[in-house]
């Protein structure tokens, strides 16, 4: 059987003839004539295409524009058209949006409604964070947030609770063969491994393949660069590559752990890292994007590598049956080049359990859902007033995520004072020669990188340094 099977607004769908990189949004709009979800940007940055997706791990809002059909196998999709009660009653968030005058042009509204319905279902109360991935150009957001707050007073409709319960909806998806194979045109069918062993063997044999977990990056290759990557393996379903494992000595994060799951797992241990992840992409992106993808794509502006490097992370790689572990900073060789052999993939990243001294500073033009101009992560240990260890890493300051080794050396062994911090500032020039681009100038990056060390010191002394924590 070569089909993908999922529920669309409660109706079983079985698709066998769609290209593997066809987006859910295109399919909904062009094949199903469900035009509620909109294309606002086609790159997962505006949320106008947001849909509700339920699987055995919960219900999430996802961007349909960068969601490939094979990713839906075994899941339940609900679009804005499917959020009202079948008897015609509006969903509480829909009614609240009307009551609060929260739609003007209405184009972003279906995406907001879908995201809000997910948040309503999940009892999410941090609306600003949960809706940061939905852009509205008309309202200034105030009425939308008022609507989200008003809807929270109403219970989740019983029918929707059932419709998103995997115990109830999973049997409705005709199972048969549990693996999907979707073909399209001349491209080979995508590979959907059953286990990481399965993946290891296939990838060693198909080293030119592209691995897709959340598709938040590869999605743009398709929608913006108009590439047709092949062959493809869809790996988000690999349970044995997913999850955060804590032992006495280390924290290990499986490659297909989503940023959303990592956020929850890391918060008790390294709250500043969790806060960094809170600002990573958007709820829609974090529900899809994985830690493995954020590392393996090698971007110099990925936000998790600087934090992980500052925590002393090791990267666990596998090719066939061969496994190796390297320091994460050594994975990034230069811009566009990583220490990864063809057919080799990221299994996990791990770092030692430690006292939390980590602070992560993401600097961007907009706080939410923005790519960092620079991201500085500081992990400085102080014993008896002296810097005993320092691990500092930056994104956005070089062609790769990079440690500030010269700065670290200036700090270690010296007393933890503002004078020491200031004396270390010139060393930033040794560590980094950043570039000018549309996000910031080189001089701003360098100056701010230096200042972030001062911010770390001030914050360590209890001085308020975070504008997001200032009350009106």
């Amino acid at each position: 059987m070569s089909e993908i099977a999922f529920l669309l607004n409660g109706t079983p769908m079985r698709l066998a003839d769609q290209p593997a990189t066809r987006s859910l949004l295109d399919w909904l709009r062009e094949e199903r004539r469900l035009a509620g979800a909109k294309e606002g940007c086609n790159e997962g940055d505006c949320g106008a295409c947001t849909v509700m997706v339920s699987d055995s791990r919960g219900t999430h809002a996802l961007n349909a524009c960068i969601l490939f059909l094979p990713q839906l196998h075994g899941k339940a999709v609900r679009t804005v058209e499917g959020l009202g009660d079948p008897d015609g009653t509006l969903h509480p968030v829909q009614q609240a949006m009307i009551d609060q005058h929260a739609s003007q042009c209405g184009f972003c509204t279906p995406g907001f409604v879908a995201a809000m319905a997910v948040n309503h279902l999940n009892g999410e109360s941090d609306h600003d964070t949960a809706l940061a991935g939905n852009l509205c150009r008309c309202t200034g957001y105030a009425p939308i947030i008022r609507a989200a707050e008003a809807a929270a007073c109403h219970p989740v409709p019983q029918w929707l609770r059932q419709a998103t319960d995997p115990a109830i909806f999973c049997p409705k998806i005709s199972r048969g063969e549990s693996r999907a194979s979707v073909t399209g045109g001349s491209a080979p069918p995508p590979f959907i491994p059953k286990s990481s062993d399965d993946l290891a063997q296939w990838f060693a044999e198909n080293p030119q393949a592209t691995l897709i977990a959340g598709a938040t990056d590869v999605g743009l290759w398709v929608t913006k660069q108009l590439r047709e990557p092949a062959p493809l393996a869809f790996i988000a379903g690999l349970d044995d590559l997913r999850g955060v494992t804590l032992t006495d000595s280390e924290i290990r994060i499986g490659a297909t752990t989503t940023l959303a799951d990592l956020h929850k797992a890391i918060a008790p241990h390294h709250p500043s890292f969790a806060e960094l992840i809170r600002r990573f992409g958007s709820a829609q992106v974090r529900a899809a994007a994985t830690i493995g993808g954020n590392i393996a794509n090698g971007s110099p502006i990925g936000d998790t590598p600087p934090a992980l490097i500052a925590l002393g992370a090791m990267l666990h790689l596998r090719r066939g049956d061969a496994r190796r572990a390297i320091a994460l900073e050594d994975f990034f060789i230069e811009y566009g080049k990583q220490d990864r052999a063809p057919g080799e993939f990221v299994e996990a990243v791990s770092f030692p359990r430690q006292q939390d001294r980590l602070r992560c500073y993401k600097i961007s033009k907009r706080f939410d859902q923005d790519i960092s101009a620079l991201c500085g992560c500081f992990n400085i240990s102080v014993e008896n007033g002296t810097v005993s260890d320092a691990r500092i890493a930056f994104g956005g300051m070089a062609g790769t995520p990079k440690r500030a080794l010269a700065v670290e050396l200036e700090l270690i062994g010296n007393s933890w004072t503002i004078e020491t911090a200031e004396a270390a500032l010139p060393a930033f020039d040794e560590d980094f020669q950043p570039i000018d681009d549309m996000r910031a100038s080189a001089s701003y990056r360098l100056e701010t990188a230096r200042n972030l060390l001062l911010r770390y010191f001030h914050e360590d002394q209890g001085t308020p340094v975070n504008v997001l924590e200032v009350a009106p």
């Binding site: 004539r33 035009a35 509620g36 979800a37 909109k38 606002g40 940007c41 790159e43 940055d45 505006c46 679009t79 804005v80 058209e81 509006l90 949006m97 009307i98 009551d99 005058h101 739609s103 003007q104 042009c105 209405g106 184009f107 972003c108 509204t109 279906p110 409604v113 940061a132 852009l135 509205c136 150009r137 008309c138 309202t139 200034g140 957001y141 105030a142 939308i144 913006k224 108009l226 706080f367 939410d368 859902q369 923005d370 101009a373 681009d437 549309m438 910031a440 001089s443 701003y444 100056e447 200042n451 911010r455 001030h458 308020p464 340094v465 975070n466 504008v467 997001l468 009350a471 009106p472």
Partner: protein, 788 residues
Amino acid sequence: MSVHKPLPHDSARLHVTGQARYVDDIPVPAGTLHLAFGLATVSHGRITAMDLAAVRAAPGVVAVLSAEDVGDADCSPSAHDEPLLAQGVVHYAGQPVFLVVAESHLAARKAARLGQVSYQELPAILSVEDALAADSRFEDGPRIWARGEPDAAIAAAPHVIEGRIEMGAQEHFYLEGHAALALPQEDGDMVICCSSQHPSEIQHKVAEALGIAQHGVRVEVRRMGGGFGGKESQGNHLAVACALAARATGRPCKLRYDRDDDFLITGKRHAFRIDYRAGADEAGRVLGIEFDQYALCGWSQDLSLPVADRAMLHADNAYFLPAARIVSHRLKTNTQSATAFRGFGGPQGMLGIERVMDHVAHKLKLDPLAVRRANYYRPAEAAKTGPGTARRVTGPHSPQPPATQALQTTPFGQIVEDFILHELTDKLATQADYAARRVAITQWNRASPVLKKGIALTPVKFGISFTLTHLNQAGALVHVYLDGSIHLNHGGTEMGQGLFQKVAQVAAGVFGVGLDAVKITATDTGKVPNTSATAASSGSDLNGMAVKAACETIRARIAGVIAARHQCAPDDIRFTDGQVRAPGQDYSFAEAATLTWQARESLSATGFYRTPKLEWDRIRGHGRPFFYFAYGAAVSEVVIDTLSGEHRILRTDILHDAGASLNPALDIGQIEGGYVQGAGWLTSEEIVWDGQGRLRTHAPSTYKIPATGDRPRLFNVALWEGENREETIHRSKAVGEPPLMLGISVLMALSEAVAACGDGSVYPALDAPATPERVLMAVRRQRGGGDA
């Protein structure tokens, strides 16, 4: 009465259920073709070779059109200087060079990337300096409007300030990108469905491109997913391309821009540089002032002349400038052609004078609000009341103007006869607790080494009317059917602002029926012809009046018929609660309509409106371009991080004048949204072109409009209670654009926060958008560091 009620947007239920239909949602006929433009990759260059073989050979491609195929089809709204496809020379990176017609949207996009175009690059004009050096401009020279002797006034003033502010472009980022669909009809006619604020212009441009009469083209616009001015003229290319391709192939043709293409092709808000020199007295009153406004207009004229005019017309904002010279340079550059954007030059002009107020206050070490108040126009009340009867309308901080003095005029000679900002400012300052908070912030800043706060109150006075006087007209078409249902149509377009609902409220009010009796229908050039763009905040002012006129015509006919039956005067017939009430007998509205029909009276009428009192000479810069002014003020409080330049808005209080609001809920929506959009313009929204003139911010990944977390943490918005002194539709005021300029308070609050880092000797001179980088640079200057 349905007017003045806070009713929801007419499409609210359709919006939230996903049923509201936009152009891309319209089911297309089988065989519809899809278009994509191939875009220029250099900002100025002569096309030396164009190899489109690979494009033609790409899967799904039906046709490829280049300049020779489309003739001199033009897309300009003004000067006939925008060929659909570049003719020999490209003038900006992103300019359409060829047009792909394919079986699918994706096939067209893919093929469009395969064109091989070679250029002989020409010098590109990308900056004010480039343009001035090359004398590259629209019109023969700068426009200059002057009053009095500003040079002498400045020379004689006790204090002189001089400075410059740069303000960046702004992308509209309507959530719905541009889209158009052309449906070929019999006999060469064409129907266009598109996302446009100006269906009549689409009709005219398509007819011209097809070489057919305007009656052969019908344009329909039900709604837009946001416009903000970006769909006033920028949709012409899509409609013309679709029409030409549809004629060439005989098949329906559709073009929607991918978001990146929309950024790359279409115009944005004009970036401006404004140089200023002003002389002030000890109270901060401006005695003389000179502005040099440099508008970066892009490659074609588009709407740049009226935009630049409006910047000049708002160079005073709320302040009486006794001696002023305003010089406006409209510079032609090799970038996207800057276009209309909410405020239409007003924001730029207004930011210039608000910068001056801030600068004067800093120099004189005065509260900027005191300086602003000292410069306010004389209040309307003072002129109305005679000596001895003037009531105190200003607060304790406002100098009381002598009641006998005459009203003041703007630098362009319009009498400011409705000035309410003294009272409005007092009320807002009190409600927002401005004075006490300002003191508290000073104390807070002393105790906070890293973070600094700032607060600012800025006013808005915005002129309402198209400055091209003949555009101030509107038409409507209303039918009443025998069952009493009403078909409503007018020339305005719905882009989210709630125009359709406001106008429906007017119609329902005339007939005394519920809104459910009124069917709002798509804007259609076949129903109401020769319309103006829905722009200049004029939508409900113009169309509301036109609809009212049409409805009153029909109502008079019904009243006449009913009155004749009862042998009473038509004035005795009342239309309320869905009833037509004659002495002694009530008819349902449907019965009355049927009786009118049986009496062989028409139940269909057009309505027309022209704005009175306007008289404007734009060359002299003198007259009354505006019917009235809309007012408002905002207090914004911000906090900055002096180590990174990051900042955010903590609290905003707004009091805004919508006259006797037609719909307070919709108007507050315009105010909240306009403020956040204005704040975005001045903070996070940075349009970046590289040294070669290529746009580097062309998607939401790189161009950052405010997200929900960027709105003020505390956000108090209220309407000023008052009515328009002019006879507008139910005494309401236009509200589309003015609130955007309330966002200027954010930049001024940031300026205050930056100034808190210094000793008062260095003016922050914060440019816009005030990204973290610009704020950090300004902080560095305060702390004695130079520019890096």
